[in-house]
């Protein structure tokens, strides 16, 4: 109809005849009736306590000091409890070991408390039974074993708590032939065994990285998955603060086969095949020995890295007593050589403490080997399995499961139906650590005491209660722990003269410091030190395998945990899968590209696994590395994780599990489990299975193929050297200052009060990803599953971008979250005014206004906005108990992003206002900062010149990402600094 057409008039009798008109009218009427009719909401109830506990105010969090049970490191944590349920694990600044940090696993293991598939009570042959029934049966069988004098074995992970040790030892004391076998799935057995040889005491030294000027690591991933990562990160970070020229930065050399997060942080890094490692350590030992005026007989000079070793020896000798040589090797000979080097350098009692050694790993692989022999021979009459999953861990699935089934009495304290629990006749599930009294002594003299943060949610029972019941003297766990502490711990200190005050103090603090039990060490036994074997190159066409724990999955004990599966690995950035890492040259030689499925196979005893390839720069060319912890029964639950829709694909592989189990490649040799060095054949299968890797999602850098087209390479991550930083003439890594205030938009919203900002020290960040999980827990970020991740729909509010420098020997990690821009691209394009500026400089996202145009995400320079494509599953009401009530669960169709934990800002503001004060500097800690083991994040008021943040920002290393586009971000980064000669630093 053209505009000039006159509008035809409507015949007056036409109005009832149109069907459309009728439908319109009916529709509107119906809608109006709905609106007026929907006045009454569903009835909500308010159900108060019958008797209100004294210190509980509904709506206010209560914090309990406790111990993390995510691994055996024994970090102190604060458990945030809201209305009777733990909702967050927070770092505990006063704890002697962890010093305020919590790792990703520590953050995530909270989810295990609300796990629907946790055993809700005891089981016999897989069927639920009553506690009274199992108790009667087990007690009868125990009596039988006692009468017959049969062999009783108690198999556990590292147990160091006084109460646990006392009860288990007492329990075992009742049998004629009883032995307690401890093993660590990620073993450090060789370190302990080597000290038995060289020091006459089987101890794991406590490593003091904060005292070391020079750190030399032969494959020890001490910032990631070694004996106590959070403690070591804190120590290491203390000497990696490059801003003060008076505190010299430590010098860190890493020799390793795969690229670990620790290696990526090193000042010098060398790629070494596992088979060369022994010769290298021998070579260094010989060099240091020569300097010390002795000789290491029989040590041949290693062919490779001779120059580097000479330099390292020089540096070590110059830093005598203030250096540290560590090794992740499981070869006792290599570990003894490290002891020898540290001994010659006078590091014992300086940087390695063997008088108050660590108890974080006490396992003995030789004892485990002996037990396996006994099991195979059918000599064990009763087996108790506490907190470990040997059938999975040892990669001997059918053989060991059958051997366990043949044992007349098998009692497993497992919480979930893991590989070993399936093979165990009785399962007597232990409490989750947050439900129970527990104790541990991670370092001799530092004893943790953890009170329950909630009542047991299921009909589980503490292991110690179970053992006491079977000894015929049932006691409550509180009674057990308390009485042991009165007799075993209280006498070891003098500060508190009365037990009651000592006990209450320890409960409140979550730990106490007592006199360490003395170590019966003898003089250094030089005879125990022999050069390690010559390098044995792998046969032609073969690679050496390295089986390694990742920071998220560790040994697989948390394979039930969706948060950890969704957390991208810091290095490969892969989620929801395991893979085979190959060096770029190796992959090229084999004609493989990322995502191609390869078959990794070893002969005798046969082991093979098929998984996708990840091309890993920085890895040794003769190595294929496989992450541990995947392919376990515990991951079978993830078949339907994430939103289920027409095109959704499962997160699990053909075998119904997430990833493949690398355990079969671990071998047992001479009483030690070897995780690397085994020759394997890597052959392409011709198939391809893309991985859910997130590195290239939300990338800030222009792709390299666009380099020639005039695209500017932006220095997203800046790197400098210690020398350059303190050289007055250089710009100290500051880079050029770009841009200035935006010319496009006027500064029409000046912030007069506090303006919140953040500074992130890239030099401190180890990529550990604790912040990623902490943010997920704090902000109710949903899990989306493998398929959605592959569609770039991961929901994490904070991601850790990983940048390789050069050939991949230097790695920088950059936590990236909403930069709370002063001139925000997202705000100008939102048609709904759903994202806009607050008066304290925050870029607010208002979910209830958002209509989901996604313009903001497209216009975000930092790619930090996440869209809710679905109503992510929250059907599991038990699991929903973990949700933070201070943060709304977003519904489908709205955008979300980092809010700087605005709920914490509000809480601090309300508290400060109530006191009539300004918000104190440091009173607000976003979840990422709170948990960071490396203290890399500083949060505060940009408008306060005296805030820690303003001081951090004044450093020479500070810069803002994409400053040149004029977004005025509130987040400042501090450049990576490496301890090198000047000019070696690069801008990323």
């Amino acid at each position: 109809m053209s505009e000039s057409d006159p509008k035809p008039t409507t015949p007056a009798d036409d109005w009832m005849t149109s069907r459309r008109t009728f439908l319109r009218a009916a529709g509107f009427t119906f809608a109006s009736a709905m609106i007026t009719g929907c006045q009454s909401s569903p009835i909500h109830h308010a159900i108060p306590y019958l008797v209100q506990p004294e210190d509980v105010v509904p709506g206010r969090p209560v914090y309990y000091a406790g111990t993390c049970s995510g691994c055996s490191s024994g970090c102190g944590v604060l458990v945030k409890n809201r209305d009777g349920r733990p909702i967050k694990i927070e770092g505990y600044t006063d704890h002697a070991l962890s010093q305020g940090g919590v790792c990703a696993v520590g953050q995530a293991h909270l989810l295990g408390l609300y796990d629907n598939l946790r055993f809700s009570g005891p089981r016999r042959d897989g069927q639920p039974v009553e506690w009274t029934d199992v108790d009667a049966e087990i007690a009868a069988q125990i009596a039988k074993v006692k009468a017959e004098g049969g062999a009783v074995r108690y198999l556990s992970g590292t147990v160091s708590g006084p109460a646990s040790r006392t009860v288990v030892e007492k329990f075992l004391g009742g049998f004629a032939d009883a032995r307690w076998v401890m093993y660590d799935p990620i073993s450090s057995s060789a370190i302990l065994d080597s000290h038995e040889r060289t020091h006459g005491a089987r101890v794991l030294p406590r490593y003091r990285f904060e005292k070391a000027d020079v750190v030399v690591s032969f494959g020890a991933d001490f910032l990631g998955t070694w004996t106590s990562p959070v403690e070591h990160t804190a120590g290491y970070r203390a000497r990696r603060t490059p801003d003060d020229p008076a505190v010299p930065m430590s010098y860190h050399v890493q020799f390793e086969s795969r690229l670990s997060t620790t290696g990526g942080k090193a000042d010098r890094r060398f790629r070494v095949a596992p088979s060369e490692m022994g010769a290298l350590v021998s070579g260094l030992a010989a060099l240091v020995a020569r300097k010390a005026g002795t000789e290491l007989a029989g040590a041949a000079a290693p062919a490779a890295h001779a120059e580097a070793l000479a330099e390292v020896a020089e540096r070590l000798w110059a830093a005598k007593g203030k250096c540290l040589v560590v090794s992740g090797s499981q070869d006792v000979q290599v570990q003894a050589l490290c002891n020898f080097i540290n001994h010659l350098l006078g590091n014992y009692d300086q940087t390695l403490d063997v008088t108050a050694p660590s108890n974080q790993r006490l396992g003995s692989d030789s004892a485990l080997a002996a037990l396996l022999d006994e099991l195979r021979g059918g000599r064990v009459k009763a087996l108790f399995i506490d907190g470990v999953d040997p059938v999975y861990d040892l990669g001997l699935a059918t053989e060991l499961a059958d051997a366990i089934r043949r044992v007349p009495l098998v009692v497993n304290f497992a919480s979930r139906n893991d590989e070993t629990a399936v093979a165990s006749k009785f399962v007597c599930p232990d409490h989750h650590a947050l439900e129970s009294w527990t104790d541990s002594e991670p370092v001799r003299g530092i004893v943790n005491l953890s009170q329950p943060a909630t009542r047991p949610l299921l009909a589980t029972r503490s292991v110690l209660e179970s053992l006491s019941a079977w000894m015929g003297e049932p006691r409550s766990i509180l009674d057990i722990v308390r009485s042991t502490w009165e007799t075993k711990v209280f006498p070891r200190q003098t500060a508190q003269p009365v037990f009651l005050t000592f006990w209450e103090r320890s409960v409140q603090d979550g730990f106490c410091t007592v006199t360490p039990e003395p170590v019966a060490a003898s003089a250094f036994n030089l005879a125990a030190v022999k050069p390690a074997g010559e390098a044995h190159a792998a046969a032609a066409g073969q690679l050496e395998v390295v089986v390694y724990p990742t920071v998220g999955m560790l040994d697989g004990r948390h394979a039930y945990n969706a948060w950890l599966h969704e957390m991208p690995d810091p290095m490969t950035r892969v989620t929801w899968d395991s893979y085979a890492c190959l060096a770029p040259a190796t992959a090229k030689r084999l004609g493989l590209s990322e995502g191609d499925v390869v078959r990794v196979a070893a002969a005798e005893p046969g082991a093979s696994v098929e998984c996708s390839v990840v091309i890993q720069p920085g890895q040794h060319e003769g190595v294929v590395s496989l992450p541990m912890g995947y392919g376990s029964r515990l991951s079978e639950r993830f078949a339907n994780v994430g939103p289920q829709w027409l095109e959704s694909r499962t997160a699990v592989g053909d075998d119904g599990r997430v990833g493949r189990h690398a355990g079969p490649f671990v071998t047992m040799r001479e009483g030690a489990r070897l995780f690397d060095g085994r020759p394997v054949q890597v052959s392409p299968t011709g198939r391809s299975r893309p991985l859910a890797a997130v590195q290239l999602h939300h990338a800030l850098t222009a792709p390299e193929e666009l380099d020639g087209l005039g695209f500017e390479r932006r220095d997203i991550v800046r790197q400098t050297t210690f020398a350059e930083l303190h050289d007055e003439k250089s710009h100290g890594g500051h880079g050029e200052h770009h841009g200035g205030p935006s010319e496009l938009w006027p500064q029409d919203h000046p912030v007069t009060g506090p303006k919140w900002g953040m500074s992130i020290d890239l030099s401190a960040c180890t990529g550990c990803s604790a912040c990623v999980v902490a943010c997920q827990v704090e902000n109710n970020v949903p899990v989306v599953g493998r398929d959605e991740v592959m569609r770039h729909r991961e929901m994490h509010w904070i991601r850790i971008d990983r940048y390789y420098e050069g050939d991949g020997d230097d790695v920088s990690f950059q936590p990236m979250m909403c930069q709370q821009c002063g001139v925000a691209g997202c705000e100008t394009v939102c048609p709904a005014l759903a994202t806009l500026h607050s008066e304290d400089g925050l870029n607010q996202q208002v979910y209830n206004r958002c209509v989901g145009t996604r313009y903001c995400a497209n216009n975000c320079a930092y790619k930090v906005r996440r869209f809710n494509w679905f109503d992510y599953p929250h059907a599991d009401r038990f699991e929903n108990l973990v949700l933070n009530p201070d943060v709304v669960v977003r519904s489908r169709g709205v955008m979300e992003k980092c809010s700087f934990c605005v709920q914490r800002i509000q809480e601090a503001r309300i508290a400060a206002k109530a006191r009539g004060e300004a918000i104190a500097d440091g009173a607000i800690q976003p979840a990422c900062q709170q948990t960071c083991p490396a203290r890399a994040i500083t949060f505060g008021d940009l408008n306060d010149p005296n805030s820690a943040l303003s001081k951090a920002n004044h450093g020479r290393r500070s810069y803002r990402v994409l400053e040149e586009v004029g977004t005025e971000p509130s987040v400042t980064y501090r450049a990576v600094v490496r301890n090198r000669e000047g000019g070696e630093g690069h801008h990323g």
């Binding site: 008109t21 006045q39 308010a46 306590y49 008797v51 206010r60 806009l836 208002v846 979910y847 509000q906």
Partner: protein, 226 residues
């Protein structure tokens, strides 16, 4: 043809349709007696029956018990909180019925020359039942303690985070939002608790202060929405 039926905004056909709709609407309102038009979720005037006929008029009005005695969270938490049954028992351990009922029993007992009997009102018996107590307020093994399920009146949607302590500590009186609770026999929602109502008060408070003091009541979205 579509074009042929198209007409101007106030063409007779559309006007008629509108009138019909208005008629249906109007009659619906008359029949159900909804009163003024409201937004969904607006529960102003909501006055549900409670499991126990608790009278705010008696407790807060006549007896002038301080609001914070029972709603102790209001000063320190986001939730004002419904008092625990144990809080009720601070008084109702001894006060088992109304004053009138006591006096009547006293008079009767005097008349009949016997000691007065224990009087327990039907409403308070519900409280004792909840706590698993008998009429003598002693634990009764036959009864299982079961928390009282009060019907919640004041509620805001999940995407709103309201904090009582922030308001109470700023000097906002309870009545400003909750109305004259001390005069309500059965509690009724006085305000609509809608966002407009919140923001208006924040704006006015920023201009004129609260309780004579200047205040800064933020009108940023993230103050409540996070």
């Amino acid at each position: 043809m579509q074009q042929a039926t198209e007409t101007g905004w106030l063409g007779s056909r559309r006007l008629t349709t509108l009138l019909i709709i208005a008629l249906i609407f109007g009659s619906a309102l008359l029949v159900t007696g909804f009163g003024p038009m409201r937004l969904p979720g607006d529960q102003q005037g909501y006055e549900p029956a409670q499991p126990i006929k608790f009278s705010h008029r008696l407790h807060a009005g006549e007896l002038a018990i301080d609001c914070f005695y029972c709603h102790s969270g209001a000063e320190k938490s986001r939730h004002a909180g419904v008092p625990a049954a144990s809080t009720c028992m601070n008084c109702h351990k001894n006060i088992t019925s109304t004053f009138g009922a006591f006096r009547a029993e006293d008079d009767l007992a005097k008349k009949e020359g016997r000691p007065p009997r224990q009087i327990v009102s039907a409403e308070l018996r519900k409280l004792y039942d909840a706590l698993g107590l008998d009429d003598a307020r002693k634990p009764d093994p036959a009864k299982t303690p079961k928390p009282i399920q009060w019907v919640r009146i004041h509620t805001v949607p999940d995407f709103v985070h309201f904090d009582h302590s922030a308001h109470v500590n700023a000097g906002v009186t309870c009545q400003q939002c909750h109305g004259t609770v001390q005069a309500m026999e059965r509690l009724r929602q006085d305000s609509d608790l809608g966002m407009g109502w919140c923001v208006n008060c924040h704006r006015t408070s920023n201009k004129s202060g609260v309780a004579g003091k200047p205040v800064h009541a933020s009108i940023d979205c993230a103050t409540c929405h996070h």
